[in-house]
Amino acid sequence: MKDLKLVVQRFDPVKDASPKMVEYAVPKREGMTVLDALLYARDYVDHSIGLRFSCRQASCGSCGMKINGRPRLACYTQVEELGGEKVVAQPMDNFAIIKDLVTDLGSFFDKHKAVTPRLVREDGEEQERPTGEYLMTPGELSKVLQFTYCIKCGLCTSSCPTVATDERYPGPQALTQAYRYSADARDQGGAERIAALDNSHGVWRCHFAGSCSYVCPKGVDPALGIQLLKRHVMTGKPPHAKDEASKVWKAPESGR
């Protein structure tokens, strides 16, 4: 089998003046992913290639990078689906480069935290010492389930044309999580969360290019979440009122 031409963008901001593209010949095998190819190059050709990975099964979101011009997970992209001849690996756009393919996700996580990505409840005592469970109906669950699959890989943010020009924009990941928690039947913080995003650098900066949904490896569909969020920002009303949030359900005594 012919070798794969693996081209990697090499750049150490501490030492190098500008990035350079370096080509490696990698023996192909059936089912080979881009991560496999990169690990071969690092293990057998050049130990200094910088890349980040962990689970190798599209669960951790560590190996996001730009592959043949599009943000993808290296572990989730087979060489064959790219034509099998040449693979070009570059760091994700819109994130600062630490070294080679490793980018800094610090501001990405800060923006995620800024939308209060957790259930906000007024019954603090129940949160600290639970006496039961907050129930959701299957219908309530289906409103948020797909948005819970986000692995925070950053591919959506890397693809977003608004993030490319506006540093203060929260980005598709954070906005989708704002909708995910606000639409959760157990949450009571929707009004505050939505009000915080109603500004010129907030949700209205999204112009529905849809690239976030196009590149998402988990089917989260951030573009859908953001458009649904806009409707609530427009009306000023969260998906449900505070007093409509799930009540605590206690299991009946078994009688034993």
Partner: protein, 157 residues
């Protein structure tokens, strides 16, 4: 590549990030055309305000007269001017129709509802419903521009 401090390099795409839709989806192309046509329409409106101002006696004009009308009409009454007007019709119809699609999307009307997903993932928001409206915008724009061209170049009135 500029430094971001802390031994890191900036890698934000900037203008090329929104101007270049290559490698991305159909909606991304529509996004670029929507923004570019928006700028083009703004430029046209400013120019149009300028020539109207010239004719009606605004700050840069000479006031209503045969000579000022002849001057203004001389700018557009030629093949190049007609071509510009045909392009104006094209971009205005596309921008307006595609804008209606975006408004409907922002109200959550044409995107479908969140639901359970199965591999291979196909985002609901990028499915046929709203995508058909992009095609409608393109077709209407082309038909409108062809109609305008027939009037301006073919003498159809």
């Amino acid at each position: 590549m500029s430094s971001e401090g802390g031994g890191k390099a900036r890698n934000r795409r900037g203008l090329s990030g929104w101007l270049n839709p290559y490698h991305y989806n159909f909606e991304r192309w529509a996004y670029v055309f929507q923004r570019v046509t928006g700028i083009a329409i703004l430029a046209y409106v400013i120019g149009h305000l300028g020539d109207t101002s010239f004719f009606v006696g605004g700050p840069i004009g000479t006031g209503p007269s045969q000579s000022s009308w002849t001057f203004i009409s001389g700018i557009v009454e030629n093949s190049f001017g007609h071509l510009i007007l045909v392009l104006v019709v094209l971009v205005v119809i596309f921008h307006g129709t595609n804008g209606l699609r975006l408004i409907a999307s922002e109200m959550g009307l044409i995107l479908g509802r969140p639901a359970s997903i199965e591999y291979p993932y196909k985002p609901r928001s990028l499915r046929l419903g709203q995508r058909a409206l992009i095609w409608a915008a393109i077709i209407l724009a082309v038909v409108g521009a062809a109609w305008a061209a027939m009037i301006l170049f073919g003498g159809l009135a």
